[in-house]
């Protein structure tokens, strides 16, 4: 039996860790070089599509299909990462996500004929980035640092990590996007002082304040809104255009996904233009009709003012949490495509009383920072250390639906807290603990993270058991829980039931499935390639049989060619490429005397020619 093995090229030094900016709209991959961080390939649009043959594609190719095949294409999936059905009702009104029934625990999206979860969709984007990186580096990539919005909660972080695993990447670290930007910026421009990073991207807004000191990047506070970004500006403009079109054309195109996609493109083009010219036009041609609306900067500014306003409150809260006055901020760094808008720059300048830095490409700086963090982990970048914080407080449910906070927001991570629990009735065997994340006092106003069931507590009178639980938020901002039975002295079993998101088993199954698929795809390609080769050698042989040289062959040589052809034709339709190749070689071998004869005949012909 022949075995199949992937050859990674033998002994190599530890492969490169890549830095990935997995954005709402666009994604990028970068790597740390001797000279600094470097973008590895072009921007990959965060769009995934299923083709007619069932193949899943990601990136620019998939974005093309947003207009042609909107029902089998998905974008902005980052908005759904780690979310439950109740979290995304607003999103569903504005984005054409097609949810399947049974989406309560984990959202399930319909993509053409396939049903996928948000982490799987993200995994396809990551896989595309991985391939691009491998092509650019000429070596396999297996480890990555991935950035997330600073204000992402535990479930959103876990979902991002799951996506990495499904894509075949070991996620060594999740880094907060504004922090990554600060790393890229700080290494480049400044190494002492206090900087504010204003990160206004496609779908999320973050503000972080850091102190830079002797190579240490210490995040003092972070704040944000995971429901606020450039998409909101687009949606606003789309709403206005839809109403215009309704009155101009007399038709409501809001349910026509292709029309809305075209309109989305049109408003994005107008929005982007307005960062550079005073007047632009939203221009849509559809079904032989045309809609054109002129929009000037003054009107645009008045429309988006409320959206920009929503970014300023988190900025003020962040300053307060950092315990700093505005004049303590030395620099303001702008990140994210939406910071190209002049009004955004003006408002930020007004708030911080500093001209914000815009010289770094706002689309690239996060990926570059992720590469710096990858360099720190890989050991290429020494003397630089990142101390980040958790954006949200962690607590447990107590009597009356109240939250008892264990780890406060803006605590440097890793951070931990230990809490003792006991039983309420005699002989109680289980204690259920509900962990939440958020700033509010009531459980119902916070985000449910997980329920832990402490099991197999030895029967004893009420209040006698003493189980100590350690809550630990790791450097990725993800919660880990361990429990000790202090009286029994043994490690207590903890069953973690995440309130939202995939269980470990589900992720494992997806990894396995994607691996099996990748393997099947690979095998299929091998078979296809072997058949193509068989086709060409069969055709060549058939042609050679017409040659005079064939007739000059010995009988047994001719017989062995015929046998080899027959044997190849027999295995041709099997799906074993090894077998096809073996018979291919056999035919190749059998036709060698024929090939030599043909050569000789040709040479004779040529020689004859020269004699003339």
């Amino acid at each position: 039996m022949s075995t199949f093995q992937i050859d990674f090229g033998g002994d190599q030094p530890a492969s490169k860790i890549v830095g990935i900016d997995l954005g709402t709209t666009n994604s990028l991959v970068a790597v740390m070089d001797l000279t600094g961080p470097r973008i590895l390939s072009g921007i990959v649009p965060s769009v995934v599509s299923v083709t007619e043959t069932g193949e899943i594609i990601a990136g620019a190719e998939a974005r093309q299909r947003l207009v042609t095949n909107p029902d089998s294409t998905v974008y902005s999936v980052k908005r759904l990462m780690g979310r439950g059905l109740g979290d995304v009702l607003d999103e569903l009104k504005l984005f054409p996500f097609r949810l399947e029934p049974g989406s309560d625990m984990v959202l399930r999206l319909r993509l053409g004929e396939r049903i996928v979860t948000p982490p799987e969709v993200s995994a396809h984007i990551l896989r595309k980035l991985k391939q691009d990186a491998e092509a650019a580096l000429g070596e396999p990539v297996t480890q990555a640092v991935i950035t997330v919005p600073a204000y992402f909660n535990d479930a959103q972080r876990q979902a991002t990590k799951d996506a990495g695993r499904i894509a075949g990447l070991e996620v060594l670290r999740l880094v907060n996007e504004p922090t990554a930007a600060a790393l890229a910026y700080g290494l480049d421009k400044r190494n002492e002082g206090v900087i504010a990073v204003y990160d206004f991207g496609g779908g999320t807004f973050d503000i972080s304040i850091l102190r830079l000191h002797d190579g240490i990047f210490e995040v003092l506070a972070t704040n944000g809104d995971t429901h606020l970004g450039g998409d909101d500006i687009d949606n606003l403009l789309i709403q206005i255009a839809l109403e215009d079109i309704q009155s101009e054309w007399g038709t409501d195109i809001s349910t026509d996904t292709t029309a809305v996609q075209l309109l989305r493109r049109a408003v994005i083009r107008a929005k982007e233009d307005l960062s550079f010219v005073p007047v632009s036009v939203v221009d849509l041609e559809y079904n032989g009709k045309r809609y054109q609306r002129e929009i000037n900067v003054a009107l645009f500014d008045s429309l988006i003012q409320p959206i920009i306003e929503r970014t300023l409150a988190p900025c003020r809260a962040c300053l307060k949490d950092a315990d700093l006055a505005v004049d303590a901020i030395d620099e303001v760094v702008m990140v994210g495509g939406s910071t190209r808008i002049p009004l955004v720059r003006a408002e930020v300048e007004k708030l911080f009383r500093r001209r914000p830095h815009t010289e770094l490409n706002p689309d690239e700086v996060v990926a570059l920072g992720a590469a710096v963090q990858a360099g720190i982990l890989g050991g290429e970048v020494e003397d630089t250390l990142l101390l980040d914080v958790t954006p949200l407080s962690l607590g447990i449910e107590t009597m009356g639906g109240l939250v008892s906070k264990l780890i406060h927001r803006n605590s440097t991570i890793p951070a931990s807290a230990t809490e003792s629990f006991t039983t309420a009735v005699d002989g109680q065997k289980n204690v259920l603990i509900h962990v939440v994340q958020g700033e509010r006092e009531l459980v119902k106003d916070c985000r449910s993270l997980a329920r832990f069931d402490l099991k197999d507590i030895p029967p004893q009178p009420a209040g006698m058991a003493k189980i100590e639980i350690r809550f630990l938020i790791d450097a990725n901002g993800i919660l880990n829980v361990t429990a000790h039975d202090l009286r029994g002295g043994k490690e207590q079993s903890v069953e973690v039931k995440p309130s939202y998101g995939l269980t470990d088993d589900q992720v494992e199954a997806m990894i396995l499935e994607s691996f099996n698929k990748a393997e099947a795809d690979f095998k299929e390609r091998q078979v296809r390639e072997a058949r193509v080769e068989a086709d060409s050698i069969l055709a060549a042989t058939e042609k050679a049989r017409q040659n005079v040289a064939y007739r000059e062959l010995a009988d047994d040589a001719r017989a062995s060619i015929d046998r080899a052809i027959n044997e190849l034709l027999v295995v041709y339709h099997s799906d074993d490429h090894h077998l096809i190749r073996a018979k291919l070689e056999q035919l190749d071998e059998a036709t060698r005397p024929l090939a030599e004869n043909i050569m000789n005949t040709a040479v004779r012909g040529v020689l004859k020619g020269t004699q003339l």
Partner: protein, 171 residues
């Protein structure tokens, strides 16, 4: 005491803020999980635990109040549940004023603003007194000073709660 050990310090109530920060940064550079990403899982786990405790320690010790609360807790002197008796009369009147304001009687406002100012000053005095008590305890390590500190912390916690409630009502 674990948090003091994590930063290589003797258990004292008065600490130098700059020295504390320096120790924290030094140890972070040594133990942060970033420095262990290519090591064995056991080493990674140790680094994670060490750093978590280091961060918890720095967060607790850099603020004099949380530091003293931790110190007392470790000595088995947790916060007392009863309000400081000397404040009872004042608090009674304050609660009435708060109630009036909540019911829409704006005439209670000046009284509350006055109280807010007074409690601010009171807290400032408590903090000054605590600094002296810290120094005294570090020199003698006597139980009497420790219970004085505990009483001052209880008072301070109570005053802070009042300030929070008054602040909320006035907003």
């Amino acid at each position: 005491m674990r948090f003091y050990e994590a930063l290589g310090l003797d258990p004292k109530l008065a600490l130098d803020a700059e020295d504390l920060k320096k120790r924290f940064y030094e140890r972070s550079r040594e133990w942060h999980p970033d420095k262990f990403s290519r090591r064995s899982p056991e080493e990674q786990k140790k680094a994670l635990d060490m750093t978590a405790v280091l961060n918890d320690a720095f967060r607790t010790l850099r603020d004099p109040i949380t530091r003293a609360e931790y110190f007392l807790e470790e000595r088995g002197l947790g916060p007392s549940k009863t309000p400081p008796p000397e404040l009872l009369e004042e608090v009674f009147e304050l609660n009435m004023a708060l109630e009036e304001l909540r019911e829409g009687d704006a005439s209670a406002r000046p009284q509350l603003e006055e109280a807010q100012k007074r409690f601010h000053e009171m807290r400032g005095e408590i903090d000054e007194g605590l600094a002296d008590l810290f120094a005294k305890h570090d020199a003698n390590t006597d139980a009497a000073t420790l219970s004085e500190i505990r009483a001052a912390l209880d008072r301070r916690r109570y005053v802070s709660n009042l300030l929070r409630d008054v602040g909320k009502a006035l907003e």
